[in-house]
């Protein structure tokens, strides 16, 4: 069982690379692609694409299934959702805090003006 923090580490580490993000974006548009289809738009060799797929696979962001000689790659969005939820917690935290800051600063300003400062 890999813990939450390790999973997030892997997800973000996988997402940090532009080629891997492009692979994911492509799988979003059309899920289920062969490795050579995925390699097509990139100016890199097949083994390099395989390496990227290993990283994505380890992060749980894609699955690979073999049928005959063809490997089909599919998107697995769960870790991505988890990463986004993690980010959303920060958004919630600061959004509420800034609402409170707004209310506080406004009352301080009103108070200061009343005192003629």
């Amino acid at each position: 069982m890999v813990n939450y923090k390790e999973r997030l580490d892997r997800t973000f580490a996988a997402l940090v690379d532009p080629t891997r993000r492009a692979i994911l974006a492509r799988l979003e548009r059309k899920d289920g692609a062969s490795i050579s289809e995925l390699a097509e738009p990139f100016a890199i060799k097949l083994p390099a694409v395989m390496k990227h797929l290993d990283v994505l696979d380890e992060a749980g962001l894609v699955t690979r299934s073999k049928s005959g000689r063809t490997v089909t790659v599919r998107l697995r969005p769960q870790p991505m959702r988890e990463a986004l939820e993690w980010l959303r917690r920060y958004e919630h935290f600061w959004s509420r805090s800034l609402d409170r800051l707004t209310a506080y600063a406004e009352s301080k300003d009103t108070e200061a003006r009343r005192r003629g400062r």
């Binding site: 939450y4 920060y90 506080y104």
Partner: protein, 147 residues
Amino acid sequence: MTSLTLVRRIKARPQVVFDAVTTAEGIAHWWGPDAGPVLLSESDPRVGGRYRVRFRMLDRTEHESSGEFLEIARPERVVLSWRWTGGLEDPGESRIEITLRAVPEGTELTFTHSRLYDEDSRRGHEKGWTGSLDKLEAHFAGVAAAG
């Protein structure tokens, strides 16, 4: 995507907002995501000075964060380092930048929390990260919108 920007329009003068943001007394009044109390607030708002905030949430969990003032220009701009202190999840040090701009009704505050994750592995990848992940995020936003 590992940075977050929020904007608020506040009916108060920039210097009032600035002090609310940077002083221990100010921080004690607003820091935290719900009506739970700030238990401890320390702040030394000058370059190299540190701050520390501990708050309790309504669910009774307590959280503490701390950091250093990296840049300070009253009443326009403050940059802080930030990290959770002593928590189970410590994704490392991140950066908060707050800029204040005088507008007719008071102040426009822009808050950016950046380098939220795994900065070490991201060095050199700064460009391209935010923009290209936005698309992915947009796609998944529909799926995860419940949160």
